[in-house]
């Protein structure tokens, strides 16, 4: 936490606190994500990882603390306001418009960024369609463009959910277990595609992950959660050797 005021800090959470029925899911948590950095959050179930993502994206309001995105406090804004500030989120359980085709989902996301308040011009227009197809190609989903997202297989649904976040052109991608519920073969494919796409666009990423191989391979930095606090932080190489971390996290994962 020494780098708090370096100019490259994109997201700075300071001293966050929130409790559910007496249990502190965040107890004085501080965390920084720098520009272009991929930060992984690991920790046992119930340690408050998703709660932290929920605070950063406006779903929960902390009782104490600040979250700054590029210097602006966003901790008490609505999810939609935070989305417009440049944080896009993908969910542990994919959140899609299941009655729309994949490309319609994406065009809606693009329209959300470029101007949703149009009542008489069609959503399906060449500019949006081209951009959506580009994104689908980037994430390897082009052959599913015209499939109803409700009928996509799990791995593709997961990736589709992440693509919706990409379409917002965010500064920071927040991913809640991007590879959970996906077969171990597909996992690396998804992460490879995803991280490649994120690098190409110069995005930062904050992701919760249970698979240590993935963390080791794709994270620049790892933050270890334990009962609402951060118990360790550092490069994957050093953190994943720490015996305390091995005991509390890897044993569980």
């Amino acid at each position: 936490m020494t780098q708090s005021n370096t100019p490259s800090a994109l997201l700075e959470a300071r001293d966050l606190e929130i409790a559910f029925g007496g249990v502190k899911a965040a107890d004085g948590v501080s965390l920084t994500v720098n520009e272009g950095e991929f930060v992984a959050i690991i920790g046992p179930n119930g340690s408050g990882k998703t709660t932290f993502l929920n605070i950063c994206t406006g779903y929960l309001k902390p009782t104490r603390g600040t979250v700054r995105l590029a210097g602006r406090d966003i901790a008490r804004l609505q999810p939609r306001a935070i989305a417009r500030q440049g944080i896009a989120r993908a969910f542990q359980i994919p959140q899609l418009f299941t009655d729309h085709t994949l490309i319609d989902n994406l065009m809606l996301s693009i329209a959300a960024r470029r101007g949703i308040w149009q009542a008489l011009t069609p959503l399906d227009r060449p500019a949006y369609r081209d951009e959506a197809m580009d994104l689908l190609q980037l994430l390897g989903l082009e052959k599913h463009a015209h499939t109803l997202t409700g009928t996509l297989p799990e791995g593709q649904r997961k990736l589709a959910d992440i693509t919706l976040a990409f379409a917002l052109n965010p500064k920071l991608l927040v991913l809640d277990e991007p590879t959970s519920g996906v077969s171990s073969i597909e996992r690396f494919e998804i992460m490879e595609t995803l991280m490649h796409a994120a690098r190409q666009r110069g995005l930062s990423a904050l992701f919760v992950e249970h698979d240590m191989d993935i963390v080791e391979k794709y994270a620049d930095r790892v933050v270890v959660w334990s009962s609402g606090t951060i118990m360790a932080e550092g490069s994957p190489a050093e953190v994943l050797k720490d015996p305390r971390v091995l005991e509390s996290v890897v044993g569980v994962a």
Partner: protein, 299 residues
């Protein structure tokens, strides 16, 4: 002023007692089945029609007029036994797992059907069956005159409220109901026959609505349109208290009664609208009612 306010207040409280029964039935069935029966108000008015017809028959047949009291209870039980299982096992059961839109549409369709059925069966002229009220007479305490029947209504509502507490805490069926309300999935996994519980809870809800209607008959004429008005009022009370909250419904019924007294006293034109104004104000401040909690969704 006190001598005018107190009778007004007792009057309003007696009304609150009746509305409490209807809102109680609505909120009970909702918390168990997670279906809000839009036709609930019609079962209130059917209860009222049956009780009024039964009461009038007892008098015209020259039977002992005190029989009109058990007739009120019998009418409600009859309506519940007839409509409760029938509606739950056919229409309502069909909607489980089909989304709330379907549930609203189906029970609303039932509402439309029942409203016309009542017209066809009971006609459109008002029925008056105030024998129980007349039998009980009045009492005078401290220079103020009370209708004994109204005092009885208030007492019955209080007994029902505390009786329900005891029922839920100390009987097997009551505890089963509470478990199903708390976690339907877990209770199904535990092997509880939720279907039977649903039928039971829905029938109990119908009984409470019909009982409210039956007990209201001595205080008013029974006429078409009653079901719709009662439905909306019962929903307002249930929503103010927090949908699914029985004590909330009781408190809300009293609040609504108090506000109506004030309205009648100061702005009589707003009498009928007062409950809805209370509802709007409460929901503006607490969108899930006084005792209700917002649903937490894990994402």
């Amino acid at each position: 002023m006190v001598s005018t306010l107190i009778p007004l207040f007792v009057d309003a409280l007696a009304n609150a007692a009746i509305i409490f029964f209807v809102a109680f039935g609505l909120t009970l069935a909702f918390s168990v089945l997670r279906v809000l029966n839009v036709a609930h108000g019609s079962l209130y008015s059917i209860g009222a029609y049956v009780a009024a017809s039964f009461g009038l028959w007892i008098i015209s047949a020259g039977l002992n007029p005190w029989l009109t009291f058990p007739a009120l209870l019998l009418s409600a039980a009859f309506v519940a036994a007839l409509f409760g299982p029938l509606i739950e096992m056919t229409l309502v059961r069909w909607t489980y797992g089909r989304g709330e839109a379907v549930q609203i549409l189906v029970t609303f369709a039932l509402f439309l059907i029942l409203e016309d059925l009542q017209r066809l069966v009971f006609g459109v002229s008002s029925l008056y069956a105030d024998t129980p009220m007349a039998l009980l007479g009045i009492s005078e305490i401290g220079g103020i005159i009370y209708l004994n029947y109204q005092l009885l209504l208030i007492a019955i509502a209080a007994v029902a409220l505390f009786g329900t507490r005891l029922f839920i805490r100390h009987t097997r069926t009551g505890r089963l109901l509470a478990v199903v309300v708390a976690d339907r999935e877990v209770s199904e996994a535990m092997g509880i026959n939720t279907r039977r519980i649903f039928t039971l809870a829905f029938t109990l809800g119908v009984f409470l609505a019909a009982l409210g209607g039956a007990m209201a008959t001595p205080t008013m004429g029974v006429a078409p349109g009653l079901g719709a008005d009662t439905m909306v009022l019962a929903f307002a009370v249930a929503a103010i208290g927090g949908l699914g909250q029985i004590e909330g419904a009781a408190l809300a019924a009293i609040i609504v009664a108090l506000v109506r007294v004030l309205a009648i006293y100061y702005v009589p034109e707003l009498d009928a609208v007062a409950p809805y104004i209370v509802m709007l104000l409460v929901l503006l401040v607490r969108p899930y009612g006084l005792f209700g909690k917002p649903p937490v969704r894990r994402i």
